[in-house]
């Protein structure tokens, strides 16, 4: 093995049933570097990482780690840890029912002479670890009492404390705010100086350029290339990830008109749901696309869920099409012509084990009621129509939806709602985790729907995306609606509004 290389993977291949997830992928990690692993969803980043950490069992190729003779084949995360590979995942992988200190030390607790756990010692060591990271928490408190961001920091602290040679950070920043991200970056730089090799997976391009030294790009399970950061400006990175230069996004043109004169589709007055969203008013006109801006956890999803009845509104009134309606659960909202694409595709979107056809007709069938079943031929006709309309790439309409890629699954859910012919569609992060090509298709679709007189409530973490499609934006902060922007929609204005305050 070369000097200063800590980890190499050569020719890694792996298949999931029916899909080549990794095809002859190479990866090299050097000492003291932060190495970004980039690629669109389905490119094979997570699969590669799982091969390294022993969760996936790859079929061909070999992985070598500095200081270990011969190829390494980890059977479990534990094996990986033993040879110095620590991992922090996007979802916090800690035990909420144990204390912070226990979470830091479980599996490697200091023992007393009687082979019992030395609680005192690990509590004080935990205190020290957390203080070193600049986070002062009560380490004896259960983890579940702290925010997600703190939990994520504890997970990182655990990984860092384990004397690792290789630290894998798999999208650790998605639940952190800017300040916390900066803190994490400082920590990463500190570790880098100590000679730890860090693999960093993220969707945020800015973050890559802020800390990384080198980038490896994967596409469709294949290795595209390894580049020093200086040689790969953003545009080229995007091109490498997508395999083509794509300027499609700029093409979307939205219609600018005065919606105040248009009839009202949705008029919410003082809706709220205890613990998630404070009372808010919201008016949406026919044919209007309204965006919700705000940070994660600002209440933007909760606002939508409250209108849709996914979380039942506890106060206030809702008018749809000029009539006051009572919405107790989603089906009530659907009967008033609403539809909602939820942000968590896996948990609340797809019915994984049902076919594409069944997934598409589900909402329409639910609306019709149990006793008015769509005939098989009707179902197939609808499925064919929408597979064609939103261009779902699937082997057949009887393919199980779980076998589709993330972007196509998202399209299936879109098709599900389009099939119900809604007047008002809520789209919560419809473009998250899907490739740029599909993104622009979905954006175009939104504009098209609005052109047909339908109203859309659009939530996204990417402000640019909303600027491109929305006529008006609602700004959320701390579970409260804090303002609306209808003209001068610009990145700067929106950011300022989201950040709030005078600065």
């Amino acid at each position: 093995m070369e000097d200063n290389v800590v980890l190499t993977a050569r020719g890694i291949s792996m298949t999931f049933p029916g899909v080549k997830a990794l095809d002859n992928v190479d990866f090299t990690l050097r000492k003291g570097e932060i190495h970004a692993l980039m690629g669109e969803n389905g490119a094979g980043k997570s699969t590669l990482i799982k091969c390294i950490t022993g969760i996936n069992d790859y079929e061909a190729g070999e992985i070598r780690v500095e200081g270990v003779e011969g190829p390494v084949k980890n059977r479990s995360t534990r094996d990986a840890q033993n040879i110095g590979i620590s991992t922090v995942y996007q979802e916090v992988n800690l035990c909420p029912n144990l204390s912070v200190a226990e979470n830091l030390f479980i599996g490697r607790e200091p023992l007393t002479k009687l082979h019992t756990i030395d609680r005192k010692s690990y509590n004080s060591r935990s205190r020290k670890i957390m203080e070193d990271l600049g986070i002062s928490v009560d380490v004896t408190q259960n983890l579940e009492n702290y925010s997600l961001a703190i939990q994520q920091m504890v997970a990182i602290a655990r990984a860092v404390d384990m004397e690792c040679k290789v630290l894998i950070l798999d999208e650790p920043t998605s639940s952190l705010d800017d300040e916390e991200v900066e803190k994490l970056f400082n920590l990463m730089r500190k570790l880098k100086e100590k000679g730890v090799g860090i693999i960093f997976v993220t969707h945020f391009l800015e973050q890559v350029y802020a800390v990384c030294d080198r980038i490896t790009v994967l596409r469709n399970g294949a290795f595209v290339g390894e580049y020093p950061i200086a040689d790969l400006p953003r545009v080229k990175l995007v091109a490498a990830m997508m395999g083509k230069d794509l300027d499609d996004l700029a093409e979307i043109k939205k219609e600018q008109k005065d919606f105040a004169k248009e009839p009202m589709e949705i008029n919410a007055n003082g809706l709220s749901h205890a613990g998630t969203i404070k009372p808010f008013d919201l008016k949406i006109h026919k044919g209007e696309v309204v965006g919700i801006g705000g940070l994660l956890g600002s209440g933007r999803s909760e606002l939508a869920r409250c209108i849709y009845g996914a979380d039942k509104a506890q106060t206030g009134t809702l008018e749809v099409d000029g009539q006051i309606v009572k919405i107790n659960q989603p089906i009530d909202a659907m009967n008033k012509g609403m539809g909602m694409l939820p942000d968590d595709r896996k948990a609340e979107g797809i019915i994984a084990d049902l076919s594409v056809r069944e997934n598409i007709i589900l909402a329409l069938q639910a609306k019709r009621g149990m006793f008015r079943q769509l005939s098989r031929s009707q179902q197939e006709e609808i499925a064919d129509r929408y597979i064609d309309l939103v261009q779902i790439k699937t082997a057949s309409k009887e393919t199980l939806v779980k076998q589709l890629s993330g972007g196509n699954q998202q399209k299936v859910i879109l098709a599900r709602w389009l099939a119900t012919d809604p007047d008002f569609l809520i789209l919560d992060e419809p473009t998250r985790g899907i490739d740029i090509g599909t993104k622009s298709e979905i954006q175009k679709l939104i504009v098209k729907l609005a052109g047909e007189g339908k109203s859309v409530l659009f939530i996204s973490s990417e402000i640019e995306e909303m600027l491109r499609t929305c006529n008006r934006m609602v700004i959320m902060r701390d579970g409260q609606k804090v303002g609306e922007l209808d003209h001068d929609l610009s990145q700067e204005n929106v950011m300022k509004a989201i950040a709030g305050g005078e600065s």
């Binding site: 992988n93 479980i106 599996g107 002062s136 009492n145 205890a274």
Partner: protein, 344 residues
């Protein structure tokens, strides 16, 4: 961000559950004393009798708690006890000594536990299905060993008989009976075994790696695996522990009944589960301890004791009341869980 990050005010439903349990026990017991004081309910011995009758159940409940901490369940325990008793009874009537038989029963417990644990831990089969099959297996096996009721008399095995009938006296809390004789309070050897088990498991859960990893697995099996714990082995360990403790409990149980029969300990799994749940062990795993389960056993014992003292109530009442209590506590747990979810 130098200021201390405050934990959300801890809604400590777990402690609350334990408090409710202890209070419930006191209320029930006090109620029994008031209603049946004249029939000797107030005597210290009545309390000790509850312990004596439920010595086996205490062991089983400890094992059940460990399994439930991992988020699993083991409903084979009642049937396993029946099989243990039958083995003891038949074995001893065939002339095998008490000590070898007890060791054999414990060994069977270990093997059975390893088997169940392997299926749950390594083959990832639902614990309920595995232990249900285990339950039917043991119950049927009891019948395969012998379909009749077999008693253990002094003639069958003098040692075992002596164990069963020896009294360990307690120097305080006695009373003078209506004939003027001073009654010294006592417990049977089973109680000592049960309390020993209780203490050992308490220490294990709190102060050993294995104990803490049971909590970790129950909190989130996936996370525990990610943190490098061998979840499969830990789960297997939990089921093994449950079966061993159940076999120890089986011996204690047999010391009380001195017989083996197919219908013995019918529904005991229910008592063990309800004891654990009443004692604050969450069905979803990760929360609970054996002290709570101990009080759960005492509550169940008090109910049976009251029904028995009353003498007029139908024999099915303890069964119904236990189920009702389990129901109430499950509902309380689910309400707490809902509150906690809302606070997130």
């Amino acid at each position: 961000m130098n200021s201390k990050i405050k934990a959300k005010k801890n809604f400590n439903s777990n402690t609350l559950l334990l408090v409710i349990t202890i209070v419930l026990f006191c209320v029930l017991y006090a109620g029994g004393c008031i209603a049946y004081g004249s029939r000797g309910f107030t005597h210290f011995q009545t309390f000790l009798n509850i312990l004596i009758t439920n010595a086996g159940l205490i062991c089983v409940a400890c094992g059940m708690t460990c399994v439930m901490l991992t988020g699993g369940i083991d409903i084979s325990v009642g049937a396993l006890i029946a099989m243990d008793c039958m083995m003891l009874a038949v074995g001893m009537s065939k002339g095998i000594g008490a000590v070898p038989m007890v060791l054999l029963v414990l060994l069977v417990g270990v093997v059975f536990g390893i088997f169940q644990g392997f299926l749950v831990g390594y083959l990832e089969i639902q614990p309920f299905i595995v232990s249900m099959a285990g339950m039917f297996f043991c119950r049927g096996m009891t019948a395969v060993i012998c379909t009749d009721q077999v008693s253990i008399t002094e003639k069958v095995n003098a040692t075992f008989y002596k164990w069963a009938n020896s009294k360990i006296t307690i120097p305080f809390g006695g009373y003078t009976n209506n004939k003027g004789k001073y009654m010294v309070p006592y417990v049977r050897p089973g109680v000592v075994v049960a309390l020993l088990v209780l203490v050992v498991i308490f220490i294990m859960l709190r102060y050993t790696k294995f104990g803490r990893s049971l909590y970790a697995v129950g909190g989130s099996a996936q996370s525990a695996a990610m943190m490098g714990l061998n979840v499969k082995r830990i789960k297997m360990g939990a089921y093994m522990l449950s079966s061993i403790l159940c076999s120890i409990g089986g011996v204690c149980y047999c010391l009380n009944t001195m017989a083996g029969s197919v219908t013995q300990a019918l529904g005991l799994e229910m008592d063990a589960i309800s004891s654990a749940v009443i004692g604050g062990t969450l069905l979803t795993g990760g929360v609970g301890n054996v002290i709570g389960s101990f009080f759960g056993v005492l509550i169940n014992g008090t109910i049976s004791s009251i029904v028995k003292t009353n003498g007029k109530l139908a024999s099915s009442w303890p069964n119904i009341l236990t189920a009702a209590l389990l129901f109430i506590f499950i509902v309380i747990q689910s309400i707490f869980a809902a509150i906690r979810a809302r606070r997130k």
